[in-house]
Amino acid sequence: MKHEARSSVKMFSQTLDALSPWIALMVKRRRRFLVGALLIWLTLAAGLSLLGLSGWFITACALAGIALLLGIPSRLDVYVPGGGIRFFALLRTVARYIERLYNHDTVLRLLADLRYRVFGQLMQLDEAELRRHRASDWLGRLTADIDALDNLYLRLLMPPVVSLLVIVGVSLFIAIWLPGIALVSGGILFILWIGLTYGVGRLGFAASHRQVADQEVLRRFVVDQLQASAELIAYRSAAWHRLQVESHEEAALNNQRRLGKCVALGNSLISVVAGLLLLGVVWGGGLLVAEGTLAGPILVMALLTLLGVNEVFVQLPGAFARVGGSVAAAERLNGLGSAAPLLKEQALPPQELDIVVQAVTHRYSSSMMPALENVTFQLAAGEKAIITGHSGAGKSTLAALLTGRLVASQGEVNVGGCLPAAVSEKQRSQRIVLLTQQVDLFDASLEDNLRLGNPDASEEALWEVLEAVALDTWVKSLPHKLETPVGERGQQLSGGQVRRVALARLLLMDPSVVILDEPFAAIDQATVNTVANTLSHWLEGRTTIFFMHHGSSLLTQQVKHHWHLSAGKLGPGN
C-alpha cells in the first residue's frame, strides 16, 4: 500500500499541508476555541473533583467515625466538603449544558466560514471544470467534505488539547501531596496521550484516507449496474459484473475492518493503562500510608481522581484513527480551482460590439476529440447569426468561449476587440449575455430570480418584462405574486415557465451581445409567437447568435448568417 511505505514524517507533513489552510481559518476564531476548550475542561474537571472530593469526604468521615467510637476526640468540618460536593455536581451539569450549546454554536459559525471559503474557490472555476463536476456526484461529496472539516474542530482539535490540559491539571493536583507518584502517573498518561493521538492516527491513516475513495469505487460499480442493466441482462453478464462489485466491496469492508481494529485497540489501551495505573497508585500510595507519611483520605482522593481520568481519553482513538479521512477531504477541497485565474485587465469599448472568432480549436482535457476544431467566423456589431447543430456539436463550448468562462486552447476569440475571459466579470456580464440551454433558477422568490438580471430594476420594469414573455396574467393570479417562491431549481414552475422567466430576466438587461441557446425550447406554440415578437424587438441593434437544433422560421427574417456546427466544425448552414 502506498501510504504504509511512507515514513511517519511524510505522513505528518501531508496532514499538515492538507489541513493548515483550514486550521488557519479556525485560528481566526481562537477566542471561541479557547472558551469552548475551557468549558469542556471545566466539565471534566468538575466530574473528577466530584469523585475525588467524595472519596476524600467518605474516607475522612470513616476515620473520624472510628476515632469517635474509640473515644478519641476528632473534629471534622462536614459543611465545606459537603458544599463542595454539591457545587461540583451542579457545576458538572451546568458546564456540560453550556459547553454543548457554546461549541455547537462555534461549529455552525465555522461551517459558515468554511462554506464561504469553498464558495470563493468555486467562483474561480471555468466552464470546463464546472461541467466536469456537473457530470458526477461531486455536489454531494462537496458538502460531505465540508462537514468532515467542520467536524475537525470538535473531534480532532478540541479533545487532544482538553485531555492534555486535564492530564496536567490532575498531575499538578496530585503533586501537592504526592509529587513522585504525580510525576510517574503524569508521564504514563502523557505517553498514553501520544499513543492515542499520534500512534492511532498513524495506524489508521492509510485506511481512513482511502475510505471515501473506496465508497466512490463501489458507487461507480452500482451506477454501472443500474445504467447498463439492459446490456448486462441481455448478454448474460450480470454474474460477471456482480463478481467485480463483490471483490471491490470486500476490499472496502476489509479496509473498514482494519480501521475498526485500530479504534478498538486504542479504546482497550485506555482501559488497561488507566486501570493498571490505578492499581499502581494503590500500591505506591499504600506504601506511603503504611509509612505514615500520607493521610488515608488524600490517597483515596488521588485514586478517585485518577479513576475518572479515562473519560477524557475516550474520544481520541475514534477521532484520530480517522485523521486520514479528514486529510483526504481537505486535499479534495484544496484541489478545487487550483489553476491561477486570468488577470482581468481588458475593458470593453462603450460602443456596440463585434465578434471575431479566428481559427479556434478547443480541446477538453478529458476528451480525445476537440470540442471545436478550427472554427472561424465574424459578426459585425448588430448582426445576427443562427448556428444549428446537434447536442454535443460544440455549441455550449462556443458560448462559454464568447462569454469568457473558458479560454480556447488555440486561436483567437474577440468580442469588441477584447478577449472575453480577460474582462472583469462585472463588465462582461452586463455587456455579453447568454441564455443557457439548461436554465438555473435559484431557490428564492420569483422577484429575486428576475432581479438577477438587474438588481435595481423597478417593480414596473419587472411587470413589463413579465408581460413581454406573457407571464403577467399568471403571476397576477398567484397568491403571493412576485413573492412566489420558485422552489429548488425552479421545480414549482413548468419547463416553459422557467424558460420564459429566464427570458424575462434577460430583457431587464441592456447588453451589446446576446447569445440564445434554444430560446423557445419547452415554450408552447401558442405563446412562442408573442415571445418571439418581443424578443426580436428587444434584439434590434444587438449582436446576436441563436443556437438551434433546427433552423426556425420565427427569427430567420432578420438573420444575416446561417452556419451549421457538426462535431466541432463550422460550415455553411442549409
Binding site: 472530593l53 460536593i85 455536581a89 454554536d105 464561504y116 453478464s237 494503590v282
Partner: protein
C-alpha cells in the same frame, strides 16, 4: 406477499437476526467487561479499607492486587472483543443488505430503472447501507447491555447497602421510562439538527449548482456574501431550538452527578454515625466507597446508549428509504413460459402492458417471432415500440395475456448505449466476459473503431467515460456495435439504434444491421430508417398500442 409489508423496523430486525450470534456475543462481552469493572471498583474499595483502616501494607495485599490487575487486562480484552465482534456483525449485515438491494435492482429491471435516477439509487445502495453501521455495531449491542448491566450493578449495591440501591432505583425510576425520555430528547436534537443542516446545505448547493448562471450575471460576489449570511441565519435559528433540545441530555448528566453527590453525603454522614436509620449504621469505608464508585457505573451504560441514540435515528431514516425500494414490485419472471416449438423465439398472445401511472401503453398484441425473422417495427413515438422490445427482452412482464419467450443470450442496443466506468476492454467484456484480446480487436475493427483504438494512450486498457477519455455519441454507439459483434448473439434487439447519430455513424450502424440480417440472425428493430425497414422480412406498424403487419415476406 410478505415483501410488500416490509417496514424499516421489521427489516432492521430481520437483518439483526442474521448476525444474532455475533451481536449477542458482543453484548455478552460488554456485560462481562462491566462485571469486571464492578470487581475492580469493589476490589479497590476493599484495598483502600485494608490500607487506611486496618493498616495493612501493600505487600500483604499483593494477591488481591494481582487479581485486580488480571481483571483490568481481562476487561481490556473483553472491550476489544466486543468492538471487533460487533463491527464484524455490522460489516456482514451491510454486505448482506447491499446484495439484497443489488438483487432487487435486477429484479426491478431496466424499464423501472429508466424511470429513476441512477445516482439517487446508487446512494441507496452505498451511502444508505453504510448508514446502518452505527445501529448494528454500537446501538444494538449497547441496548442489550443496558437491559442487563445496570441490574447486575444494582444487585451488588443492594448487597452492600439497600438504601443506596433504593435511591438508585428512584433516580432512574423505571429504566425504560428514563430511556424514552433520553430517546425523545436525542431524537428531537437529531431531527432539528438534521432539518437545519439540510436547509443550509440546500441553500449552499443551490448556489453552487447555479455557479455558471451567477458567473454569467456577474453575481458571484453577492452570492458569496449570501452564503455566509444564510448559514449564519440558520445558525441563530437552530441555536434557539437546540437550547431546549440539549436540556434532555442535561437531565441524564444531572441524575448521574446528583447520584454521586447524594451517595457521598449519605455514606459520609452514615460513617460519622449521624444516620442511625436502616443499614447506615453498618456502613464501613469498604461498603461506602464501593457504593460511591458503583453509582456512576450504574448510569454509564445509559449514558453510552444516549450517545449512540443518533445511530438508531440515522439507521431508521436510511432503512425507511431502502425499504420503499424493496417494497416495489419486481418483474414476474416466473409468469413467462418457454415456447413449445424450438424454432420459435417468442409468442405473444393478447399481451398488454399497463402502468399504474400511465395506463395501458401497449396491447392487446399478438405476435410470433420465428428464428431467423428480421422484423422492423415502426410507429410514432409513444406508440409502445420500446415497451414491445422490453417485453421481448424480458425486461417487463405482461399485465395481461400470455408471453412465451425463449431465453437465449441476446444482444441489446438502444439509443444511448451504457458505458461502464472502466477500460475499453471492460466495456467490451460486458458482452462476453471470456473474450480474448484478439476477439476484442476484431470486434472493434468491425465497428469501425480501429482508428480510435490506435489513438488511445493505453490501448485496450485506457479508461473511458466520465473518469477517462470521453467518447462522442457516435463513438459510443460504435462501441455498442462492437459489443454485438463480440457477443456473436443470434438474437438481436435494437431500439432506435440510428436516432440522433451523425451521418457517418448512422451508415456504419445500418451496414452492420444489414450484415447481421444477411447472416441469418434474428433481428427485431424499432426503427424509422428506410434502408433498415426495406431490408426487413417483416414490417410491423405500431399505433396507439396496436400492432399491424404491413409486410410479411415468406
Amino acid at each position: 406477499m410478505t415483501e410488500q409489508s416490509l417496514t424499516a423496523r421489521s427489516w432492521l430486525k430481520t437483518l439483526a437476526t442474521l448476525e444474532r450470534r455475533r451481536l449477542y456475543l458482543a453484548a455478552f462481552l460488554g456485560v462481562l467487561a462491566g462485571v469486571q469493572t464492578v470487581i475492580i471498583v469493589v476490589g479497590v474499595a476493599w484495598l483502600v479499607e485494608q490500607l487506611v483502616v486496618f493498616h495493612q501494607t501493600p505487600h500483604q495485599l499483593v494477591s488481591v492486587l494481582a487479581l485486580l490487575a488480571l481483571c483490568v487486562i481481562g476487561r481490556g480484552i473483553c472491550q476489544w472483543g466486543q468492538e471487533i465482534i460487533s463491527l464484524e456483525a455490522s460489516l456482514r449485515i451491510r454486505r448482506y443488505a447491499r446484495r439484497q438491494m443489488l438483487d432487487k435492482f435486477w429484479a426491478l429491471g431496466p424499464v423501472w430503472l429508466a424511470y429513476h435516477q441512477s445516482g439517487a439509487l446508487a446512494t441507496q445502495a452505498v451511502e444508505n447501507i453504510e448508514a446502518l453501521d452505527g445501529y448494528f455495531s454500537r446501538f444494538y449491542t449497547q441496548l442489550r447491555i443496558v437491559s442487563l448491566l445496570p441490574l447486575l450493578i444494582l444487585c451488588v449495591v443492594l448487597k452492600l447497602d439497600y438504601l443506596v440501591a433504593i435511591f438508585l432505583l428512584i433516580s432512574a425510576p423505571i429504566i425504560p421510562l428514563f430511556m424514552a425520555l433520553v430517546g425523545m430528547g436525542a431524537e428531537r436534537v437529531n431531527r432539528d439538527q438534521f432539518a437545519a443542516v439540510a436547509r443550509l446545505s440546500a441553500h449552499f448547493l443551490d448556489r453552487v449548482r447555479g455557479m455558471a448562471t451567477l458567473q454569467l450575471f456577474g453575481r458571484t460576489q453577492s452570492a458569496h456574501k449570501d452564503v455566509w449570511w444564510a448559514t449564519d441565519d440558520y445558525r441563530q435559528l437552530s441555536m434557539r431550538t437546540l437550547r431546549l433540545a440539549f436540556l434532555s441530555s442535561a437531565v441524564l448528566e444531572f441524575f448521574a452527578s446528583v447520584a454521586i453527590a447524594v451517595v457521598a453525603m449519605y455514606v459520609g454522614f452514615g460513617l460519622l454515625g449521624y444516620i442511625d436509620y436502616g443499614p447506615a449504621a453498618s456502613l464501613t469505608l469498604f461498603s461506602g466507597l464501593a457504593v460511591l464508585l458503583l453509582a456512576p457505573e450504574f448510569f454509564q451504560p445509559l449514558r453510552t446508549l444516549s450517545q449512540h441514540y443518533h445511530d438508531r435515528a440515522t439507521a431508521l431514516g436510511a432503512a425507511e428509504s431502502l425499504v420503499t425500494i424493496l417494497n416495489e414490485s419486481s418483474i414476474q419472471r416466473h409468469a413467462v413460459i418457454e415456447p413449445s416449438n424450438e424454432s420459435i423465439i417468442a409468442v405473444l398472445k393478447d399481451v398488454s402492458v399497463e402502468y399504474a401511472t400511465r395506463g395501458q401503453v401497449l396491447g392487446p398484441v399478438n405476435l410470433t417471432v420465428q428464428k431467423g425473422d428480421i422484423i422492423a417495427i415502426s410507429g410514432p413515438s409513444g406508440s409502445g415500440k420500446s415497451t414491445l422490445l422490453a417485453l421481448l427482452a424480458g425486461f417487463l412482464s405482461p399485465s395481461n395475456g400470455v408471453l412465451e419467450l425463449m431465453s437465449p443470450r441476446y444482444a441489446w442496443l438502444d439509443q444511448q448505449p451504457a458505458l461502464l466506468h472502466g477500460s475499453l476492454a471492460d466495456n467490451l467484456r460486458l458482452a462476453n466476459p471470456e473474450a480474448d484480446t484478439a476477439a476484442m480487436q476484431w470486434a472493434l475493427d468491425q465497428a469501425g473503431l480501429e482508428a480510435l483504438l490506435s489513438q488511445l494512450p493505453d490501448g485496450m486498457e485506457t479508461l473511458i467515460g466520465e473518469r477517462g477519455i470521453g467518447l462522442s455519441g457516435g463513438q459510443a454507439q460504435r462501441l455498442a456495435l462492437a459489443r454485438i459483434y463480440l457477443s456473436e448473439a443470434n438474437f438481436i434487439l435494437l431500439d432506435e439504434p440510428t436516432a440522433s447519430l451523425d451521418r457517418d455513424t448512422e451508415k456504419v450502424v445500418v451496414r452492420a444491421m444489414l450484415e447481421w440480417a444477411a447472416q441469418g440472425r434474428t433481428l427485431i428493430m424499432a426503427t424509422h430508417h428506410p434502408a433498415a425497414i426495406s431490408a426487413a422480412k417483416r414490417h410491423l406498424d405500431l399505433r396507439a398500442g396496436r400492432l399491424e403487419e404491413v409486410r410479411h415476406e415468406a
